[in-house]
Each structure stands twice: as structure tokens, then as C-alpha cells.
């Protein structure tokens, strides 16, 4: 408070250990969070399970596609999203809340007492990991649906309007779900709570509301994070969705915008709690 010299740091003590004593910086925290993510074996199993879930679901659903269904080739490939998003949600929730349930938070936030860089790093690390896993899942889904394509299912034709957007959208939507999980985890600080809320927001809520179509329910549906799933649909499927809704029509990217807004709001709330509240 009083005697700390400003300006160039005086060498109060001989430097004994590491030569570089500059302290905490964003790239360093990022690197630490990446180590934390990759050093827990269950995360690797989770990633593998997510890829298998995506490819397995796509494979199985592909077998049920008949020519007259009006499903496109991209629909078959990305159909694993409905199941795989649970894996991404768990991944995010574990990154966000795992700190608190395992007590690692004490170490982490004593090491980086400004706290917010940790959350930012967790967001970036989760996004990177989720994106990578989503790409692998997408590739695996393409391979897994090959038998279906040689049967009744339509070929994966990127010239179909919106097909390439749907494939890219798969990865983007997966990242969004993972980040929602991270935000909910950091906000609620318990993985179980984050999971239940996340599942309700990303799939069940939409499902419940869909059973009671109406102006109010369709409007609410449009503004749930589950709208992010619109990213994995091609133009024809989106048109069909928009034709049946009584609520707002979100268009090609509107669903992604809604999901992104949720991610931002939840993360801001988590950041607020992190700044304001004690860590135990």
C-alpha cells in the first residue's frame, strides 16, 4: 500500500527459480486450462463417446430414411446432433463446474486471483475442444452413413441449397451447446444442476412446447437455445420449419444468433458471480 515502489521493479530478492517472473498473462492461463482439460482421462472418454453417439445415431437414423421422406443428404449426416449435443453439454458443464466440485477452484483462483482470465480461458479451451470433437464427429458421421447412402438415403450433395451451411452449422451448434454448458456450470457451480438446466434448454423445453403449438409457445420456442439446432438444417428443412411456426421466423442464421445470445448472457452472469462471490 505505502512502500511498494512504482516504476521499474527493484530486485528485492535474488531470483532463485524460474528465470521469467512476469506472472499471469492470458496466453499462460489459456495454456494452463488446456493442460487441465487434456489431463483428465474422463474428458477423452467423453469426447470419444460423443463422436460414437453422433456417428451411431446418424448411422441408425440413416437406415430409416426412405426416398419420399423429403430428407436431404446433409440431414442424414448431421442427424446425430440431437444425441451428440448431450456430450458437448456435459463437456462444457464439467469444465465450468468441475473446478468447484473437486476443490480445484481453490488452487486455480489462488493462482490467478483476478479470476476472469480463468473463465475466459475456459471458454476458449472449451470452444476449441468442442470444435475439434465436432469436426471428428462430423467426419465419423459421413463415414457411418455411407451404408445408408448406398441404400435408400439421398446422397450428400453439397449443391443442395444450405447443405454446406448445415455441415458447418453442425460444428458451430456443437460449440454453442458446449459453451452454454460451460456458462451454466460456472454460474451454478454444480455439474448436475448445469446438466439438468442445459438439457431442458437445449432439447426438452423445445420438445414440450412443440406438443402445444400456438403463438406463445412457438415464440418461446424460437427464443430458446434449442433454436441453435436450426444451424444444422438445410434451406428446405428451414423453410418447412418456418412454414409451420406461428412464432417469429428466424431464417438461416437467426437460430444461431439466439443460441449465441444465450451463451453470452449466461457467461456474463457467470462472470458476474465469479467476480462478486467467494470461492470455497
Amino acid at each position: 500500500m505505502t512502500t511498494v515502489p512504482a516504476g521499474p521493479r527493484t530486485n528485492e530478492r535474488t531470483v532463485r527459480g524460474a528465470p521469467d517472473r512476469r506472472g499471469v498473462s492470458m496466453p499462460r492461463v489459456l495454456s494452463a486450462e488446456w493442460t487441465k482439460l487434456t489431463s483428465v482421462r474422463s474428458n477423452a472418454w467423453l469426447a470419444l463417446g460423443t463422436v460414437v453417439a453422433a456417428a451411431g445415431t446418424a448411422h441408425a437414423l440413416g437406415l430409416f430414411v426412405r426416398p419420399g421422406d423429403g430428407r436431404s443428404g446433409s440431414w442424414v449426416v448431421t442427424s446425430g446432433f440431437v444425441l451428440a449435443q448431450l456430450g458437448f453439454l456435459v463437456l462444457g458443464a464439467l469444465v465450468g463446474a468441475g473446478e468447484y466440485t473437486t476443490g480445484t477452484a481453490r488452487t486455480t483462483f489462488a493462482t490467478v486471483p483476478r479470476r476472469l482470465p480463468v473463465l475466459a480461458a475456459q471458454v476458449l479451451v472449451t470452444a476449441a475442444a468442442a470444435f475439434a470433437v465436432a469436426l471428428v464427429a462430423l467426419g465419423a458421421s459421413v463415414l457411418a452413413t455411407a451404408p445408408a447412402r448406398s441404400g435408400d438415403a439421398p446422397a450428400l450433395d453439397l449443391s443442395v441449397p444450405g447443405a454446406s451451411r448445415a455441415l458447418l452449422g453442425f460444428a458451430v451448434a456443437c460449440v454453442a451447446v458446449a459453451l452454454l454448458g460451460t456458462g451454466l456450470g460456472a454460474l451454478l457451480r454444480r455439474p448436475a444442476d448445469a446438466l439438468v438446466v442445459g438439457v431442458l434448454l437445449t432439447s426438452v423445453g423445445d420438445h414440450v412446447l412443440a406438443a402445444n403449438p400456438g403463438l406463445v409457445t412457438d415464440t418461446v420456442r424460437a427464443f430458446l437455445p434449442s433454436s441453435g439446432a436450426r444451424l444444422v438444417q438445410d434451406d428446405a428443412a428451414l423453410a418447412a420449419l418456418d412454414a409451420t411456426t406461428l412464432g417469429p421466423r428466424l431464417g438461416a442464421w437467426g437460430g444461431g444468433g439466439v443460441a449465441a445470445a444465450w451463451v453470452v448472457v449466461v457467461l456474463v452472469a457467470a462472470a458476474y458471480r465469479l467476480r462478486r462471490h467467494d470461492v470455497r
Binding site: A18, R22, R280
Partner: protein, 305 residues
């Protein structure tokens, strides 16, 4: 240098720490002592910024912990041995910590060797015994080669070898000019390695003094103990010389208000055969119990008044 000033931390209506002021200085091991629930861990958590004080301040080297540019180099912290993800290896845990400050892997291996963790470094922390977790916690505290160390009950769960090692380690760290704040609920543990002791009870400061000074507050401090074959004549002789005498079992007398020399000459005068003679050094444990006991009594009495 850790300075805590008028620190208060409340949870709802209960005050875990209540107007606490003390300092831990460089080159010294400062023992932080109090019964369970006295507020030691809360104070330490406030010092390292995990919890916000309700009022008052806690600073390290004159700054709030959160304002330190390189906290790991300034302060090494071990709060709870189980502050590790059970699925992560000890090595990965330390590497992740090290990366936040750009510390290299060589230093991680160094602290692993220093804390005797090599055989377990690549095992998942969830499989560790309490002693192993404790060593991992200490390794994390040493990682940044900090000028200040805050260790919460570091000997908890360690085997006798480990206890000796921790005592020697904190001694060395203090001798190198570092500030060491070490909590315990065992007085005799601190008596062996601390220079100064801060005692708290119910969140309030009870004593802040050197180990010697605390011992002098013991009931038995300044008592001369003499064992003789003839306690009765000696006791009479001593009483006549103005001493206070408390007879004990086995021909032992506890004598107050006179010196060892006075007791010796009194024995010579009355012809008592002296088998043992010496001053009782005050027991820290007793002094501690007296202090904390007083605190409890004070609270109870205050309630009645």
C-alpha cells in the same frame, strides 16, 4: 510480509473472523494457532483473495493479493490438500499451475523431487493418501519460489518422516528470508518450528507473541521443582523463607516466589536430601489451553452480564 488489519468476515449473522489484526514478518515462521473453527482457514482464504472480507484488509507485501502481478511468485499457498481434480495426475496438476506463470517443466520436476512425490507423480490424485495429497499441496506452494508461504495445517496426515521434513523445510524457508505463515491446532507442533505464534479463538486475537513469551504465561512458568526424601521439613523451611509451596506426589514440591538457589540453600539448612532440582519450563500446551479457555469463559460470562 503478510499484514492483516481489523479483518472481519461474517457469514450471515455469525462472525468467522472478528476484528483480527496481526502480521507475519519475513525471516520468521509465524504459527497461526487456534482450536477447530476458530477462523484460521477463513483468514487464510481471505488473505489469498478466495473470500472477500466483510471489513478490514489483508495484504501481502503491502498489496491486496488480487493486485499482485505474479501471485505464484509472491505467495505459495496450500489451503486444503484436496484442492486437486481427482482424475488428474500430480504432474499434470502442477504443470497446469506452472503454466499460468510461465514456469517451466524443469521447475515442476524440481518441486516434485523436493517433496518426495516422484513415485506418485504420474498417478491420479484421487488415489492419493492424505499424506501424499499434503505433499502435492506443498509442492504447489513451492512452485513459484515465493517470498511468502501460507500453509494450512501442512503436517496433517503426514507420517513422522513427513512431519520432520515439513519442520525442517519451513525452518529453511524462513532462514532464507521468506515469510512463512503456518496454521495448526496443535501447540506442540508449532512450538517445534515457529518463532512467533498468533493465537485466535472464535475469530478474535488472543495472543501475538514469541513462543518464549507464550510459554511464560503458563501456570507452571517460574516454578521450581524439587524432589526430596524429606518433603515436610523442606516445605516448612521454604515457607519460613517466604515461598509458596505446593506438595506433589512422590516427594516432589512445586515452589514459587523463590529461585533455585534459595531452594538449594533451604535444603542444606534443614538437611533434606535433594534428589532432583530445577526450574519448570512453561508448557506451551498449557499456556494455549489457558488462553483459549479464558476466551470461552469470557464469552460465557459476557452472556450472563
Amino acid at each position: 510480509m503478510i499484514e492483516v488489519e481489523a479483518l472481519t468476515k461474517r457469514y450471515g449473522s455469525t462472525a468467522a473472523v472478528d476484528g483480527l489484526t496481526f502480521a507475519a514478518r519475513p525471516g520468521m515462521v509465524t504459527g497461526f494457532l487456534g482450536p477447530n473453527g476458530a477462523g484460521k482457514s477463513t483468514t487464510m482464504r481471505v488473505v489469498v483473495g478466495l473470500e472477500r472480507p466483510t471489513s478490514g484488509t489483508a495484504t501481502v507485501d503491502g498489496r491486496r493479493y488480487a493486485d499482485l502481478p505474479a501471485p505464484l511468485h509472491a505467495v505459495g499457498v496450500m489451503l486444503d490438500a484436496r484442492s486437486v481434480h481427482p482424475g488428474r495426475t500430480a504432474y499434470a496438476h502442477l504443470v497446469a499451475m506452472a503454466k499460468t506463470h510461465g514456469i517451466g517443466r524443469a521447475r515442476v520436476r524440481e518441486v516434485i523431487a523436493q517433496t518426495g512425490l516422484e513415485p506418485a507423480a504420474h498417478r491420479r490424485a484421487g488415489t492419493f493418501s492424505l499424506g501424499m495429497s499434503q505433499r502435492l499441496g506443498i509442492a504447489g506452494a513451492l512452485l513459484g519460489d515465493p517470498a511468502t508461504l501460507i500453509l494450512d495445517e501442512p503436517v496433517n496426515g503426514l507420517d513422522p518422516d513427513g512431519v520432520l521434513w515439513v519442520r525442517r523445510l519451513v525452518r529453511e524457508l524462513a532462514d532464507e528470508g521468506r515469510t512463512v505463515l503456518l496454521s495448526s491446532h496443535l501447540m506442540h507442533e508449532l512450538a517445534l518450528c515457529a518463532d512467533r505464534v498468533v493465537i485466535i479463538g472464535r475469530g478474535r486475537l488472543l495472543a501475538d507473541a514469541s513462543v518464549r513469551e507464550i510459554a511464560d504465561r503458563s501456570e507452571r512458568a517460574g516454578v521450581v521443582r524439587v524432589r526430596t526424601t524429606d518433603p515436610e521439613p523442606l516445605a516448612r523451611e521454604l515457607l519460613a523463607a517466604g515461598a509458596q509451596v505446593t506438595p506433589q506426589k512422590g516427594g516432589v514440591l512445586h515452589v514459587r516466589a523463590v529461585t533455585v538457589e534459595d531452594v538449594g540453600t533451604a535444603a542444606l539448612r534443614c538437611g533434606a536430601t535433594v534428589l532432583e532440582l530445577g526450574t519448570e519450563s512453561g508448557s506451551l500446551e498449557e499456556a494455549y489451553l489457558k488462553l483459549t479457555g479464558d476466551a470461552v469463559e469470557y464469552r460465557a460470562a459476557g452472556g450472563v452480564r
